[in-house]
């Protein structure tokens, strides 16, 4: 019980929780929408060799080692004016940003890399879901005069609901489990700007040898993830039932 009381009193746990929450709030919607849009374009507009190439290229970050990823992104995000990304934004007249050396840019950078890493995986899942949608539905929609946008919102999106639920749930769980990216890229810094719950658990267990405390934080993490997953299930089910009643 003492460990749980210590967790509640620890100010650093609160900041880790807030950072993890911000990471999830930014990453999950962006990667879900982005992967869905890319999958739609590839499934409906680019069913050719170029589409295959793009699909493979987008999957490369998924299978790339995180240590390597962090090393490369550290170079790209160098804070001096000669850094790759700073050079690019400099072309548009923008001031160089100290990406990994300031609080908000560091958290933003971690989110950006997280999205870059996950989009390919979720795109493949969406793509597989879209390939299962019968072409006849799109043909019927075309006959009824529906344009591309209308077809996406009235045919694709409703039929992808189970896939979307899976992607959102997996994305949320992964976001709360984010560890290797911050461990290798920032170590939770600068300050505590990118400290996440799992990194706190790791440090408590393997750097500070407080196994009981680390277990207590892990249980808190489990409770949060379970609660969010339950909430997502309820929201998706309610919408589904609402539609059935309407029909």
């Amino acid at each position: 019980m003492g460990n749980y009381q210590a967790v509640l009193k620890d100010p650093y746990i609160t900041s880790s929780l807030i950072n993890t929450g911000i990471y999830a709030v930014i990453v999950v919607p962006v990667q879900t929408v982005l992967s869905m849009v890319i999958a739609y374009v590839l499934a409906r507009k680019c069913k050719n060799r170029f589409g295959n190439f793009v699909r493979s290229a987008l999957f490369i970050p998924v299978i790339t080692s995180m240590v390597l990823t962090a090393a490369v992104w550290r170079l790209l995000l160098a804070g001096d004016p000669e850094g790759v990304i700073n050079s690019i934004i400099g072309l548009f007249g923008m001031e160089p940003v100290n990406w990994l050396g300031s609080s908000w840019p560091a958290l933003f950078s971690v989110c950006l890399i997280g999205i870059w890493k996950n989009v390919g995986y979720f795109m493949v899942i969406f793509y597989a879901g879209m390939m299962d949608i019968p072409v006849s539905l799109y043909e019927a929609a075309t006959v009824d005069g529906a344009g591309s946008a209308r077809q996406f919102f009235s045919v694709t999106l409703p039929l992808l609901k189970p896939i979307t639920y899976l992607v959102v749930t997996l994305g949320t769980i992964w976001s709360f489990q984010v560890f290797d990216l911050v461990y290798t890229l920032t170590g939770g810094g600068p300050g505590r700007a990118t400290m996440t719950l799992v990194l706190t658990i790791y440090n408590s267990a393997f750097k500070d040898f407080k196994m009981g405390y680390a277990s207590a934080v892990s249980m808190v993490l489990l409770a949060i993830v379970l609660f969010i997953s339950f909430l997502q299930k309820v929201v998706f089910r309610e919408r589904d039932e609402g539609r059935r009643k309407h029909v």
Partner: protein, 430 residues
């Protein structure tokens, strides 16, 4: 036809995989021969980190230890543990009963393992010869007991400077006892690079490092230079709220904000970045481990160094890592004998051919980089290593994060000190 081909290829792949799996189950020739010779003798496990310049630590140690194995009819298994998960490997190994007989630990980690009862005191094993020979035995005394025998004392952090940049900016020399004020005045003169045109930073530090090792180069030395220490003598309180501690924090704050000697970008720089900046002639000064300065020579930089800046006195960080005898070692006498053998002048002379460090005993000559011999000879008393303290990782981590926030302009020096000290009190009183 296609189907038959597919089946044949699949079958072939299966056979290749099966062969690979079976080969993996077999033993290598060296294992077979060593088992044949030494199954009757004892077996000792030693875990060491990679330190050799050619990444061939295992080969080097196997060669060094070979005579010991023959003399004592035993097998010594040397395992090189990567730095990445070093403490994690020890913790999981020891708690699962699969740990080594002889370990290698650094000061930040040793207290917690002593607290766990995993490390054996060596007072009963130490001989008079050992006491006479080893130079840094006192570094291994913790809570009044000799828990470790220093194996690596070196890799001192020095203040390096680019002579060409200084000359171009009208600085003819950096005094050996350069005070903080003199250093600030020199830094203020640095405006252009060695070619006279490029912009250059006076000093860079590694505040973007993911690990707390930045404190070794950019904070602790300034506390020691002010005549202070990090913990009290009992190791029960963090005392950076002393005058020396306050001055050190204020000095860093002034370098960054009052005099703007440290640029904004320091909050994102790692140790490697600092090396690159110095090698590319983008900074006049850098605090650097002696082992890394070989890269300055490779880059053709005309560089020099002073041991440290001076306030009340000089003071800088020197690594002090030790061999420890683990409590779960079955044959402690033999394990200690191995430690003696590994630390003997003959073994260390051989080892220091591939990993350059200063000698740790009187029975070895100096084999480290000759450029740093005078540091150990003349400034030996000003070289400090960390004093072990319970829960020190969390305390240092909190201090590091608070200092990072100060360097980003999000905390004032007094906030850094009060928050770090109060957090340390919480940890030390648990």
């Amino acid at each position: 036809m296609k189907k038959v081909m597919k089946k044949m290829v699949s079958a072939l792949l299966c056979i290749v995989m099966l062969g690979g799996m079976l080969a993996g189950c077999g033993k290598s020739d060296s294992e077979k021969s060593s088992e044949g010779e030494k199954t009757e003798g004892a077996s000792l496990d030693v875990w060491l980190p990679p330190l050799s310049e050619n990444q061939d630590d295992k080969d080097v140690w196997d060669k060094i230890i070979d005579p010991f194995e023959k003399e004592n009819n035993c097998t010594v298994n040397v395992e090189i543990v990567p730095w990445g998960n070093y403490e994690e490997k020890y913790l999981t190994g020891i708690t699962s009963g699969e740990g080594p007989d002889v370990g290698y630990m650094y000061m930040e980690m040793i207290s917690d393992f002593i607290d766990m009862g995993a490390v054996e005191p060596l007072d009963d094993y130490l001989t008079d010869e050992d006491k006479d020979n080893f130079l840094y035995l006192s570094n291994g005394v913790i809570e009044g007991k000799q828990y470790c025998l220093p194996i690596i004392v070196g890799n001192v952090i020095v203040m390096c400077y680019n002579k060409d940049i200084l000359a171009k900016n009208g600085v003819t020399e950096v005094p050996d006892n350069c005070t903080w004020d003199e250093f600030i005045e020199i830094c203020k003169k640095i405006k252009v690079g060695a070619d006279g045109s490029t912009e250059v930073y006076p000093l860079v530090q590694r505040w973007g490092n993911p690990s707390i090792s930045t404190l070794n180069s950019s904070f602790y030395p300034y506390v020691w230079q002010g005549g202070g220490s990090l913990f009290n003598e009992e190791g029960t309180a963090l005392i950076i709220d002393s005058d020396a501690g306050k001055d050190a924090v204020q000095f860093l704050y002034d370098l960054r904000f009052t005099h703007q000697i440290l640029p904004d970008v320091v909050t994102s720089l790692t140790a490697d970045d600092c090396i690159s900046y110095f090698c590319e002639g983008k900074t006049a000064f850098v605090e650097m481990e002696s082992s890394s300065t070989v890269q300055f020579d490779d880059a053709g930089i005309n560089w020099g160094f002073i041991t440290s800046l001076t306030k009340e006195k000089k003071g800088t960080f020197v690594a002090s890592d030790s061999l420890v005898l683990m409590s779960n070692a079955e044959n402690k006498e033999l394990a200690y004998k191995l430690m003696q053998f590994m630390l003997s002048g003959t073994s260390m002379t051989e080892y220091h051919k591939s990993a350059q460090f200063a000698p740790i005993g009187k029975d070895e000559e100096y084999h480290d980089n000759p450029a740093f011999e005078k540091v150990y000879a003349e400034d030996g008393a000003e070289l400090h290593s960390l004093s072990p303290a319970k829960g020190s990782y969390k305390i240092y981590d909190s201090l590091y994060k608070n200092l990072q926030l100060m360097m980003m302009g999000e905390k004032q020096p007094d906030e850094v000190i009060s928050e770090s000290v109060s957090y340390a009190d919480t940890i030390l009183n648990e």
